[in-house]
């Protein structure tokens, strides 16, 4: 009898499988990758040509939101994608089927998480490339290490949070609603679409409590010509990572393989009570 496949080959195969799966779900492709790009086009069409003039120089305003939109793409590829897909796959019984195979639990989850990170990376690279090619986004290579590290901390944490929310969502039919209802309003107060300095203070406070705003700002700072040096925002990274750690704990504790309603409860109980 041969051995089990090595861990590395197993994770690579599972990741490839999840990415391929994702690429065949048009609605997921649209919301995760296409929608942020459409926003980029719209933003540029609406006010991309305005300039931001400071005493250090003048830049087109797009230099200040492309990074934020790229960060949002990364969040939608990890958090929204996982919070959406995992409950659907669970209710279809796909997770339960995998549970019957010798694939270890962590192997399946690793495939999910890595695929989300690969998709996020693709989304961010496409977004930044479009920014550079079509909209003269200027890249400061000195800040790219910070962009990469911020990206990794961000996608790791948002993937963990996506898995945590997926574990708490009861049924597949509510998954998309929960994923969007949590991330979209938060995006408006987290400097993704609009950056204002005069928002009501309670909204600023709420935005500061969640990891989206620090992530968007830390990533955007890597493209902000007004930020000097390497652009590492360690405080934000620690804050995001702490949320990620919390998400991991919940995800591991609450992870379920069974479709919702698989354990007989109400109906069988009632039937037994009447006979």
């Amino acid at each position: 009898m041969s051995d089990f496949p090595s861990n590395a080959s197993m994770v690579v195969r599972q990741t490839r499988y999840q990415v391929k799966f994702f690429s065949r779900v048009p609605v997921a492709l649209f919301f995760t990758l296409a929608l942020p790009l459409i926003m980029l086009f719209l933003f540029n069409a609406l006010f991309g040509d305005h300039d931001v003039v400071t005493d250090q120089g003048s830049w087109p305003v797009r230099q200040f939101y492309t990074g934020g939109l790229a960060a949002y793409t990364a969040v939608s590829a990890t958090y929204s994608n996982l919070a959406n897909m995992v409950p659907i796959r669970r209710d279809e019984g796909v997770l339960k089927r995998w549970r019957s195979t010798p694939l270890p639990t962590w192997g399946y989850i690793a495939g999910f998480v890595w695929s989300a990170i690969v998709i996020a990376l693709a989304g961010v690279v496409v977004m930044l490339t479009v920014g550079v090619v079509l909209y003269d986004l200027s890249i400061d290579w000195m800040k790219m290490p910070a962009a990469f590290v911020t990206f990794l901390v961000g996608v790791g944490s948002f993937a963990a949070l996506g898995m945590a929310v997926a574990a708490m969502i009861k049924t597949a039919s509510s998954a998309s609603a929960v994923a969007n209802a949590t991330i979209l309003p938060l995006a408006f107060i987290s400097d993704v679409f609009v950056v204002t300095d005069d928002a009501p203070s309670f909204l600023t406070t709420i935005g500061n409590l969640f990891p989206l705003k620090p992530f968007v700002n830390a990533f955007q700072d890597c493209f902000n010509p007004l930020v000097d040096g390497w652009a590492f925002d360690w405080q934000a990274l620690v804050f995001i990572a702490a949320w990620g750690a919390l998400g991991s704990v919940v995800a591991v504790k609450k992870f379920r393989w069974e479709p919702s309603g698989a354990e007989p409860r109400g109906r069988r109980a009632r039937r037994a009570a009447t006979t």
Binding site: F21, K96, R99, T101
Partner: protein
């Protein structure tokens, strides 16, 4: 050697005892069928053995392992066809077979698997585009792709057309020739009769009878006398009226009147005598040996009686 052992197994959901003290064992290479109505506890029992559910009490072992530990060694040696479970509909048959086979130590090749389940012509179709019966064959394919020693089949042929059922029976039989142990649940008595070495009948979470199909038929049996309900008898009174006429317990379902009796000659005599007196014809009068189905109906009725 015993492949599956279940002893005094209980699974309770609050007040509900879905499995209520079931014991049986399945020898290596044996095909054992759990027969029962919906809610009798078949799937719950099987899912405990598959490691999907935790028993409230009692023991269950598969190949000497406790399935609730869900250890990898064990799951490498079992094949599971769940009653309902999804498969990635966006993938082709080829892709899912290759993907699932990759996690086992010993595998069947793609051609062998699709040949066994009869999906040769659908290899490059997406699973989502297959018919219900074809999708069930994908379930079967994924159950055997890892060359299991023990195969769990939870209602494997539900939704199959007659040809496909026969084909999957042939498949199960050929697996048995290779020494695979099979635990099967089914509503279909012909399926149990054809495939199973032994049958366990479950009702309300309890095992109410066990034996080879032949033993079960011998043990209870008798002969079934049946005919269609004459129009002169109201369906509501049928059981009482005809019970008195035949001197036996009568089952009425729709227009079909059945009695399982030990001395069919006298029963037929009473029935025909009564019909002649009434001046009516007993439509569809039949006398036949009890089948597993009759045994089953009797057993379930008996178990439900106080």
């Amino acid at each position: 050697m015993v492949a599956i052992r279940v002893a005094d197994l209980h699974k309770h959901y609050g007040e509900i005892h879905a499995v209520d003290g079931v014991s049986f064992s399945v020898g290596e290479g044996e095909v054992y069928a759990l027969l029962g109505e919906n809610g009798a506890g078949k799937s719950t029992t099987v899912e405990i053995l598959e490691g999907h559910r935790r028993a409230t009490s009692g023991t269950a072992t598969v190949l000497g392992h406790d399935p609730t530990d869900a250890d990898r060694e064990l799951r490498d040696r079992i094949g599971v066809v769940l009653q309902s479970s999804g498969v990635e509909g966006e993938f082709t048959v080829r892709e899912v077979v290759e993907l699932y086979s990759s996690v086992y130590r010993t595998r069947r090749g793609l051609d062998e698997v699709v040949g066994l389940v009869g999906l040769d012509d659908q290899v490059d179709q997406r699973v989502g585009s297959l018919s219900g019966g074809q999708r069930r064959r994908v379930d079967l394919a994924l159950g055997i792709v890892g060359r299991p020693d023990v195969l769990f089949l939870d209602e494997p042929t539900t939704g199959f057309d007659p040809a496909a059922r026969r084909r999957s029976w042939d498949l199960v039989e050929s697996l048995c020739d290779d020494g695979v142990t099979v635990l099967l649940t089914t509503h279909y008595l012909d399926e149990a009769e054809r495939l199973a070495d032994r049958v366990g009948v479950l009702a309300a979470g309890r095992l109410i009878a066990e034996g080879t199909p032949a033993e079960l038929i011998e043990g209870i049996s008798g002969t079934v006398v049946s005919f269609m309900l004459p129009e002169s008898v109201a369906p509501a009174d049928a059981a009482a009226t005809l019970g008195a006429v035949l001197g036996a317990e009568v089952r009425v379902s729709g227009r079909l009147v059945e009695a399982t009796v030990d001395r069919p000659t006298s029963t037929v005599h009473r029935a025909t005598g009564w019909a002649l007196d009434q001046g009516i014809e007993l439509e569809g009068l039949t006398v036949k040996r009890a089948s597993l189905e009759d045994v089953y109906l009797q057993l379930v009725e008996r178990a439900a009686a106080p």
